[in-house]
């Protein structure tokens, strides 16, 4: 594919996505978001702006939330990526996904996966976050439907209902 691209080199990379080693040849200008969606078919991660403004493409890189549209794939050789597809095990949702369902913390659902990934990372680092910490963790995430209140409540409720247990 993409023979026509002007002056763009190619590179082999290998990285771990949701625990699986993935080896592929990519263009050097491909973003992590592009390889997740276009090469690995992991469509749960969304592109809302392509410029790091909206947070819909958030995934975890070695456990830390990153905006995958801003991460060049060739720069994350050998590292661990977790997407929304890797957050829940088959038949068992992550406690934060359960909390989002309980609170109806979504409407159209387009920003939801980014919110959940950022929230899950927060809960892992701070099992009992304050409202302020929740606000800080979600600050780069835009939602145009809900007005955010239920999203913050879902994160808060998740921390309370799991008693601050480790969120993996």
């Amino acid at each position: 594919m993409s023979e026509g691209i002007r002056g763009v080199g190619r590179a082999d990379i290998s990285l771990y996505v949701n625990g699986n080693e993935e080896r592929m040849e990519i263009r050097t200008n491909e973003t992590l978001l592009e390889i997740l969606r276009d090469r690995l078919g992991l469509m749960g991660t969304k592109e809302g702006c392509g410029a790091g403004d909206c947070g819909a493409c958030t995934v975890l890189l070695d456990g830390e939330p990153v905006k995958s549209c801003l991460v060049l794939a060739i720069r994350i050789e050998g590292r661990n990526v977790t997407t929304i597809e890797g957050l829940s095990e088959i038949g068992r949702l992550h406690p934060l996904q359960e909390a989002f369902l309980r609170h109806g913390a979504y409407q159209c659902g387009f920003c939801t996966r980014g919110m959940i990934m950022a929230g899950a990372a927060l809960l892992r680092a701070h099992p009992r976050p304050s409202r302020e910490q929740i606000g800080d963790a979600l600050v780069g995430h835009l939602c145009r439907c809900t007005g955010y209140a239920k999203i913050v409540e879902a994160v808060e409720d998740c921390a309370n209902s799991t008693g601050g247990a480790e969120h993996e």
């Binding site: 594919m1 993409s2 023979e3 026509g4 691209i5 002007r6 763009v8 263009r27 200008n29 969606r37 992991l42 469509m43 749960g44 991660t45 969304k46 592109e47 809302g48 702006c49 392509g50 410029a51 403004d53 909206c54 819909a56 997407t83 929304i84 597809e85 829940s88 949702l93 996904q97 989002f100 369902l101 309980r102 109806g104 979504y106 409407q107 159209c108 659902g109 387009f110 920003c111 939801t112 996966r113 959940i116 835009l142 939602c143 145009r144 439907c145």
Partner: protein, 656 residues
């Protein structure tokens, strides 16, 4: 709805907090939005957009683009029908034909095997333009001798003038008159999912497309008109919609991707990037509003005069109707005996504007509500009192002929005033300086009236249809002609049907809109879905319920009114007798009996709903009851203003 409006606690499912029927897909990532879809052999489309606001296209040379490996087709205006099309005014082309009229106008389209190749190919297309003088401002655009955006005598897309009552006499009797100018801006809907469409065309010329569209039925209609496709050859699927807010009722991306797919005979995916989505879709129509309102000594409104000049941008998709709404809707919020409203929609070489939550209503409501506060101050009332004094009441026929059959505006105002701390017993002082250095604080409230559907939108009909199908495993499938656009309509439909069928929510499935299956729907806009589509679902579920009851009554030899549907089962009072199983029958059992006895046919109920006593508002006077019900509301806010920076922070917001 029948006269005996049931209390919320009389329902088992409706009014309860339930998990939405598509919630799981939304939290796991399984929900498929348009850009997540693919088809074998799919190409990627991209538009070359005009860098000039107004220019004649002299020459387009796409040879270099076509020579690029991976490029499959280039489409220009010459590949599309010559005729113009449009929702209200026929002033659009699918791709610019002879002229470009705003920065972003589509000049050519590319289909390639990869989005990056499409992007590169677009840059390789050479276009020779003859720049023309452009107009960007509504004042400049209506001046004599202004450059003309379209081939018409003036840059006026639409005009309306409405006079009711003795307006001159009304103002002569006023004790206080305020006269002000307001301006609203071109705010964009900024839904998180940009416009996208996947289009496919088969060898017979049949078009199939997927998009996050608010009105699949009307889009099909417009597409047939724009590209001369027999309407029966078009099938529109509604993918999950990543927010619309009015901005996805019209999607030019649909026309573009279909034009490309027709040329290459392969599936084409087009996804607008955020920059082109901001620059080339339809943000809110900006308006300049001159308004004069007067009241008597007691604060009772006597007259209103309003002149609106609105920026249509280069093409007028829905903007004429938006302007009509701005010129009328707010007038039914209060009792006003006389008025004169004039509105003018002006072409400029700016991006086209269109519908966005409220459809023109927020613009003029902003002006009217601001004037209400000013009038209140002049006559010594507080903002709450003047609204209670003038507010529309149940039973009113408003100045535009709207029949208000139920209205709780006064209750809304009182509740909001109480919660936000504007209870007029406590005084009208709404702005205070907390201390010398601290921020300024203020509270205020505003009110709104809106429609639930509008008979005037589509000439042929207003209404909705639905089906509820019970398969042999006991799942109920709801399909509505007005699909879910992310606002939760699917769950609302499931709750309504589950309530009537006595089924648990876990047995409910809601199908996504597909014009070849779900009937002709007008779509999700004008706050119409729950009232119109919801009632159609109710009709369909009741029809299915009657059929289930009839089957059980026949099977068991009992009268129909002895059958109860509850907890997913049908039972009779004589349950446990010889012919009737002790536990009754599950609805799956009933459906199986029917399906096996009818060649596999599913047990199905059909319903449709058309609001009664509504009319198409007179084209000139806009008089007439356009909606079956009207929504009223009030909101109060408490804000802080930093006196040094002017920064406003909303501290509290209450709504009723």
């Amino acid at each position: 709805m029948s006269e005996d409006v049931r209390r919320a606690d009389a329902f088992n499912v409706v009014g309860r907090s339930v998990t939405s029927v598509d919630g799981l897909e939304k939290v796991t990532g399984a929900a498929r939005f348009t850009a997540d879809l693919s088809r074998p052999g799919m190409l990627w489309g991209r538009a070359l957009r005009s860098p000039l606001p107004h220019a004649r296209i002299l020459r387009i040379d796409a040879r270099k683009a076509l020579a690029l490996r991976g490029v499959r087709a280039v489409v220009t205006g010459a590949d599309c029908p010559r005729h113009t099309f449009g929702n209200l005014i026929k002033d659009q082309h699918v791709v610019a034909f002879d002229k470009v009229r705003y920065i972003g106008d589509e000049v050519a389209l590319v289909a390639a095997t990869d989005p990056d190749i499409a992007r590169e190919a677009v840059d390789l297309i050479e276009v020779e333009y003859e720049p023309l003088p452009a107009v960007f401002d509504i004042d400049d655009a209506i001046r004599e001798g202004a450059p003309l955006v379209h081939e018409a005598a003036r840059n006026i897309a639409h005009q309306i003038s409405i006079v009711r009552g003795d307006i001159a006499g009304a103002f002569s009797r006023c004790h206080e008159i305020v006269e002000e100018d307001f301006e609203t801006s071109k705010v964009h809907q900024a839904y998180l999912e940009t416009h996208a469409c996947l289009a496919d065309v088969d060898d017979r010329g049949r078009v199939e497309l997927w998009s996050g569209n608010q009105s699949p039925g009307r889009t099909r209609f417009q597409l047939a008109q724009a590209l001369d496709i027999p309407i029966g050859n078009i099938r529109v699927h509604q993918a999950f919609v990543g927010g619309g807010f009015g901005g996805k009722a019209y999607q030019h991306v649909v026309f573009l991707s279909v034009a490309l797919a027709m040329k290459v005979r392969r599936p084409v995916m087009m996804v607008f990037d955020r920059t082109e989505d901001f620059a080339c879709t339809l943000p809110r129509v900006p308006m300049r509003i001159h308004i004069k309102m007067g009241c008597d000594r007691d604060g009772r409104l006597l007259g209103k005069e309003m002149r609106i000049v609105a920026d249509n941008g280069a093409y007028s998709v829905n903007a004429p109707a938006v302007v009509d709404t701005a010129a009328t809707r707010v007038d039914s919020l209060y009792r006003i005996p006389a008025l004169r409203n004039e509105a003018m929609l002006v072409y400029t070489n700016q991006e086209p504007t269109g519908m966005f939550r409220g459809f023109g209503n927020p613009q003029s409501t902003f002006a009217v509500e601001s004037c209400m506060d000013m009038l209140a101050e002049r006559v010594g009332l507080d903002p709450v009192e003047i609204r209670l004094l003038n507010g529309t009441q149940t039973g009113d026929v408003t100045i535009h002929g709207w029949k208000i059959r139920s209205c709780a505006l006064s209750d809304c105002i009182r509740k909001v005033a109480d919660k936000i701390g504007m209870d007029h017993a406590k005084g009208a002082g709404t702005t205070t300086k907390a201390d010398k250095k601290g921020p300024l604080r203020g509270v205020g409230l505003g009110c709104v009236i809106h429609v639930n559907g509008n008979r005037s939108v589509f000439a042929a009909f207003e209404g909705s249809c639905a089906r509820v199908r019970l398969d042999e495993s006991g799942f109920a499938y709801v399909s509505s002609s007005c699909g879910d656009i992310g606002q939760g309509a699917s769950t609302t439909f499931a709750q309504i049907a589950a309530e009537i069928l006595g089924l648990p929510m876990s047995a409910m499935r809601v199908e996504r809109s597909d014009t070849s299956i779900t009937g002709f729907g007008l779509g999700a806009f004008a706050s119409r879905v729950t009232v119109l589509a919801g009632n159609a679902v109710r009709e369909a579920a009741e029809d299915l319920r009657n059929r289930i009851v009839g089957i059980c009554a026949d099977e068991w030899g009992v009268p129909e009114d002895d059958i109860r549907l509850e907890g997913g089962r049908a039972t009779a009072s004589a349950t446990g007798s010889e012919r009737i199983p002790a536990e009754g029958l599950t609805l799956g059992d009933v459906a199986r009996l029917y399906t096996y006895a009818h060649g596999g046919e599913n047990l199905e109920g059909k319903g449709h709903f058309t609001p009664d006593d509504v009319v198409i508002a007179d084209k000139k006077t806009k008089y007439g009851n356009i909606s079956g019900t009207y929504t009223f509301g009030a909101q109060g806010v408490e804000i802080e203003i930093d006196p040094d920076t002017g920064r406003i922070t909303c501290k509290r917001l209450v709504a009723a």
